[in-house]
Symmetry: C2
Subunit: 312 residues, 2 copies
């Protein structure tokens, strides 16, 4: 019975196809929601700087995590698309500010001049500020497309992940730790906040686009924590193993600036092992999600794998 | 019948007493909600910079407008206190970033060294970013103290007022207009966004702490627009008539930087007249609010008067 046999074999999940499909809506939504000159132009060149910082660039890892988590819980696609864009705007603004001369002083990002190089420091500062505000505006549409309680919940999660107990706090630790020896505990704490909080929030916001049972929420929280950390470990590895052209940003900066990294702390081989261990943890958490019912975790699995085994 | 006569005469409203009472709760709430070292400390000195930027300083005009507008519509005091603090955090963050060397490069604010002078530029940048995120966190408590729909509405209003179609947009116009002749229309547009949007939002957010009838909302919107503009006209007047010690910030900066102002456009006498006209408009709008029922607009009236007739 060849027909039945075909039906019994689940189709292989293709991350590239899935991502292409998801990103089409994300890019379209971002282009429409970020100071679209045809609809809601921003004054005095601010919109140009904002769009330059956000559009046509980036791996969109965070939006993909939001959408994959939403898929895993059969959540509201409309809410998830807004959450996906909002998280990306927070990420984009943090890069704009992080690249400025008073912070990392970086001139190259995603293979292009950074925002302050292209538009000047003052405009970069304002564009970053406006992108953060826009993230919360996108989460709170004045219509019935997203339930009000869900809007409030998504704002809460994003604000916490972006603020002093999340990303901004991690950046402050990063600033304060240049040239200092950090313990493993301190390094973990820095990255849990600096990069991990927003990656984990992406997963949790996607999961919040439905009424998700607590065990599933907890498993997804663990998944988010594991990939959030793995992402930074891999970033540290790539900073020493890849070149600027592949990365689309200046390679070797951390070592040059004497910043503590997982590689400087535990060495390259152990860092690589550690990333794989974290991947295994993330996948084990998804097993729990899967075991809870009919949730489709293919995209979350593939994203974790891609994130750890990426080359840039 | 002296007793009846006493009862018939409404007690005179004392703005100083009312403000003292309101500000006691605002200051207490800000101290509790902004990276309180005893409860939710921020890492690596970030909390110190955030608290320095917010606590023990400022006229708290925006929080007072929120609370006065809430009083005028008999709204939820709990929601209004959160809205009052959130608006003040957005205002505080904008000052921190605005003072930075790449923007206005100001070293004195509220009689103290500005945040970047005290903590360094990188920490000032991060503190501003974290304060903006915290504003939205404060608006979205994870309990039943503020209705979820009200949380979402307050986030929407604040995000719009802070973003590229509000404060950040106005600052971009301001940046772009240094040394350029602006028409009256352009100058109004700049200030409507730069200062007016957040002042108006303060009033509207206070009014949103209840289910307010549309005519009352519209009258309060007009009031907010009038005082928002009047505030800037008076600011421009004080920049040329007051000294730095009285202002608590560097006086004469606008003229020194060749920035267009209402005074440079229309002269000092006409600017003074204009501020009084705007005050009259604001008070006329409150007459409509009052006419709609039992709304108590004493505080809003007194605030408008104080704002126009202030000396610093």
């Amino acid at each position: 019975m060849p027909l039945l046999s075909t039906l019994e074999t689940p189709p292989l999940f293709c991350l590239a196809d899935w991502s292409t499909q998801q990103l089409a809506s994300v890019e379209q939504a971002l282009s429409r929601w970020v100071a679209d000159p045809a609809q809601t132009p921003a004054p005095a060149g601010l919109g140009d700087a904002m769009r330059y910082a956000v559009l046509d660039g980036g791996k969109r890892l965070r939006p993909l995590l939001v959408l994959a988590a939403c898929e895993a819980v059969n959540g509201s696609r409309r809410a998830a698309l807004r959450a996906a864009c909002a998280v990306e705007l927070i990420h984009a603004y943090s890069l704009v500010h992080d690249d400025m001369p008073c912070m990392d002083n970086d001139v190259l990002r995603r293979g292009k001049p950074t925002v302050h190089v292209r538009f000047g420091q003052a405009q970069a500062l304002l564009a970053g500020d406006a992108l953060q505000a826009l993230a919360f505006e996108i989460l709170t549409p004045d219509d019935a497309s997203v339930d009000a309680a869900m809007q409030a919940r998504l704002c809460r999660m994003l604000a916490q992940a972006a603020g002093y107990q999340g990303m901004a706090g991690g950046q402050a630790i990063d600033l304060a730790s240049v040239g200092l020896p950090l313990s493993s505990v301190q390094l973990h704490e820095m990255h849990r906040l600096k990069t991990g909080a927003l990656l984990q929030a992406s997963v949790m916001m996607g999961a919040s686009c439905a009424s998700t049972a607590l065990p599933v929420q907890e498993a997804l929280r663990d998944y988010g924590a594991a990939i959030g950390l793995a992402f930074q470990v891999v970033d540290d590895i790539l900073d020493v193993t890849a070149d600027s052209a592949t990365l689309g940003k200046t390679a070797g900066k951390d070592a040059a600036q004497d910043k503590p990294t997982f590689v400087s702390l535990m060495g390259l081989a152990a860092s690589t092992d550690y990333a794989q261990q974290l991947l295994a943890q993330a996948l084990a958490s998804l097993d729990k999600v899967q075991a809870s019912g009919l949730n489709d975790t293919d995209a979350l699995r593939a994203l974790a794998d891609m994130l750890v085994n990426r080359q840039h």
